[in-house]
Amino acid sequence: MQFLISRYNPETDDKPHMQAFEVDVQRGMMLRDALLDIKRQDESFAFRHSCGEGVCGSDGVNVNGSNKLACITPISELKTPIEVRPFPGRPIIRDLVVDMTQFYEQYKKVDPWLVRKEPAPEQEVLQSPEDRDKLDGLYECILCGCCSTSCPSFWWNPDKFLGPQALLSSWRFLADSRDQATDERLDQLEDPYKMFRCHTIMNCVESCPKGLNPTKAIGNIKNLMIKKAV
């Protein structure tokens, strides 16, 4: 089966170009297996990958126009010809490897850690199973970047709009019954860019390999702001 792969080596190329590779596709093969096969054919081919089971979030790529994790994307589900490109909107370092610095910076901006103001008890801080259930669909984020790099608002304003990933993380802590920085977190988002560039285009929801819903999280943050305002 033929794969078209975006190639770019900054030391020799002016701009990216597509290169065709033949891969002997077996039943049950994932896209990452094909990329590994291509790596065997051509030592100079670069892409990030690690766990191979969709939890480390390294191997996000753009396949036939959609952002996906290569290791959990069955080749059988892809339409031919299969075209693999780096994430859109990010500076390309080499081949499928992009610079994700800005994405991580936005994540760090939402203070993605649990804030407790009271002194810690000797044992665990109690949390009811119902309150814990509110974190499902939020804490599972693997920071792969599929969502933010598929979001047009993030393409236009990657420096100022936090992007769906960071906003999902923000809600993950706002929704945590143990967290004690709700007001600070909401105040931080009070700016025309950080959150309000979201126009519910919902590419993030479609591209999330873990089935999470950043758009809903953003809606929840806005609702909480309203609740706090009245």
Binding site: A46, R48, S50, V55, C56, S58, K108, S128
Partner: protein
């Protein structure tokens, strides 16, 4: 050309659970600490740990750290050091509470406390009824912990060197470690990081095998760094094969599945673990279950067209339990085996999973160089790459996350309390010998490819250092491996570009894999007994008279030495060796 140089008080190599928990101890102090990781920290393989972390919180069943200690000593097949095990089991409780305070979203019980599930090898009252000791965040505990630790490090403004590869430790003529030579993967430029203390926390080396639950990055880098710096690796013959990897693929299905009530069946639908472990059944210790599965398949009772696996039955638990407690494995089953665990059983077979052995350290994380506990100045190790030893010949499920957290923290605190006032002098010879390793790969011309040699190496490891090991098979394996190692100098890279050259990284990793694999094979060949994960049909019994000792492998001349097991705990009575049944 002058090499770029940075100076820190402490350097941590590896950003998984051990590295990040060490970093967090230092980051909030006035020490300058650098964390070097070859991947972005949350990509470290701690993220893939599923089932949970053991601590005798007694939230579900009556429990005590002393029972936890007994189970760990027994699980280790009496090869674990009892002082370190006592320390770990006591520390487990505050460690888990600290994790919770750091934000880990543990699953909860009705009364709001942390959810705990049953895992293999856990008992109440020193071998009595099954205990529930494994604290879990659904079946994504490692992910939840790694992210929370990273988040706390972001809060504390830890200095990260993301996507930097540690090439070699810098070592002066007295054998002290002065930091490391690292390579920025994005630019391909080398960088010297000088540090008063260096902590190795690079994780395991599962990539020595072809079928493994380990990630692409688990290439034993830290173990190889220590080995080349002159430290020995301890108990490398003890490699754990996890009973339930997805058949033919190797992705892990957590022991938590059996903890929640899942069980194994052979092609006749028989729950065969009842024959091998009448009491603990499917929750016997991992070495026992793995051997049982391999035996079933060998004796023709395997499932599938090739009779090459067994089935893990889960569907009887019902959709609610499965989607609440085991959502991740349901997802993995669907993706990699095409099976919905709610409807059908999952095809499983043992998969290479965890190295009990590693860099010889004491319980403060200090790297030791011999049986007399001589300290290697400036070097620490923690996590899977280290061997304290708390797992001995076989690790219990849920003790791995515990090990990395407890000893990562201990190493961090020890660095904090013992940081020397000044840096030792970095000599030119130290720099040159480290640079030599990097420059070797600039050689051009034709030769073997990294891929060819790696394939042959991994096949040899799988065939000759697997679950069952005989003298003949292993001797042949060692001979082959040594012959392959002789071919290493003939390997050439074809691509010598600088920017994000993953081929060059894989070449450096291959050298590390060789160091680890040969340590494993040589250590295994020498140990003439069956203990824990090291199972020899030609020496089927455990031999406490001759072999209740740790093996030490040194890289120079592939030399073996031995070290007595510490049977004296810190405060309680010793657990004397007993016949191990489940």
């Amino acid at each position: 050309m002058a090499l770029a140089k940075r100076r820190f008080d402490a350097l941590i190599i590896g950003a998984g659970g051990a590295g990040l928990n060490a970093a967090i101890q230092l980051a909030d102090t006035n020490l300058q600490v650098a964390v070097v990781s070859k991947v972005f920290p949350t990509r470290s393989h701690t993220v893939a740990a599923q089932g949970g972390v053991n601590a005798a919180l007694a939230n579900v069943s009556d429990d005590s750290w002393h029972w936890h200690m007994f189970d760990t000593v027994k699980g280790s097949d009496y090869l674990g050091d009892q002082d370190a095990i006592e320390f770990m089991c006591r520390e487990a409780i505050p460690t888990v509470y600290e994790l919770e305070h750091n934000g880990v979203p543990f699953s909860r019980l009705e009364n709001g406390t942390i959810y705990q599930r049953a895992f293999g090898g856990q008992s109440q009252n020193f071998g009595g009824a099954q205990a529930s000791r494994t604290c879990a965040a659904a079946d994504r505990t490692g992910h939840a912990i790694l992210h929370a630790l990273y988040q706390q490090n972001v809060r504390a403004r830890t200095h990260f060197f993301d996507e930097f590869f540690a090439v070699e430790l810098l070592r002066d003529d007295e054998g002290a470690i002065l930091g490391a030579l690292v390579l920025e993967i994005e630019t391909g430029e080398p960088l010297l990081i000088e540090a008063k203390s260096t902590i190795l926390a690079t994780g395991g080396c599962g990539q020595v095998y072809r079928t493994t639950s380990n990630a692409h990055i688990n290439t034993g880098d830290g173990m190889a760094l220590a080995l080349r710096a002159g430290a020995p690796l301890m108990d490398m013959e003890f490699y754990q094969f996890h009973p339930t990897g997805i058949a033919g693929k190797g992705m892990l299905i957590t022991e938590g599945v059996r903890g929640e009530g899942g069980y194994l069946v052979n092609k006749d639908g028989e729950r065969f673990m009842e024959r091998y472990a009448p009491n603990a059944k499917d929750l016997a210790s991992r070495d026992v279950v793995s051997r049982a599965i391999v035996t079933e398949v060998k004796e023709g009772r395997g499932c599938g067209p090739k009779s090459d696996h067994v089935m893990l039955k889960v569907d009887h638990l019902g959709e609610e339990i499965i989607s609440k407690r085991l959502p991740g494995i349901r997802e993995s089953g669907k993706i990699f085996a095409g099976v919905d665990a709610v409807v059908e059983p999952l095809p499983v077979f043992p998969t290479a999973h965890y190295i009990m052995g590693g860099i010889l350290t004491d319980r403060y994380g200090r790297v030791l160089t011999d049986q007399n506990d001589t300290i290697m100045p400036g070097l620490y190790a923690a996590g899977e790459c280290a061997c304290v030893s708390v797992h001995g010949a076989n690790r219990l499920g849920g003790n791995s996350l515990l090990d990395i957290l407890v000893f990562g923290r201990a190493a961090g605190l020890n660095v904090l309390n013992n940081t020397p006032a000044s840096h030792r002098k970095l000599t030119d010879s130290a720099i040159q010998s480290a640079m030599a390793r990097l420059e070797r790969w600039d050689q051009t011309g034709t030769g073997l490819s990294v891929r060819e040699l790696r394939d042959e190496f991994r096949r040899t490891m799988e065939d000759h250092a697997g679950v069952f090991r005989t003298e003949v098979i292993m001797q042949e394996g060692v001979n082959k491996l040594l012959a392959l190692r002789d071919k290493l100098p003939d390997v050439r890279l074809q691509d010598h570009s600088r920017v994000f050259n993953t081929g060059r990284i894989e070449a450096l990793e291959l050298e590390n894999l060789f160091d680890c694999g040969i340590a494993m094979a040589v250590s295994a060949l020498h140990r003439q007994e069956s203990r824990g994960a090291h199972s020899r049909p030609d020496y089927p019994e455990r031999d406490d008279a001759n072999w209740m000792k740790h093996s030490l492998y040194y890289r120079a001349e592939d030399r073996m030495d031995y070290k007595p097991v510490t049977t004296e705990p810190l405060s309680v009575d010793s657990f004397p060796p007993k016949v191990r049944t489940y």
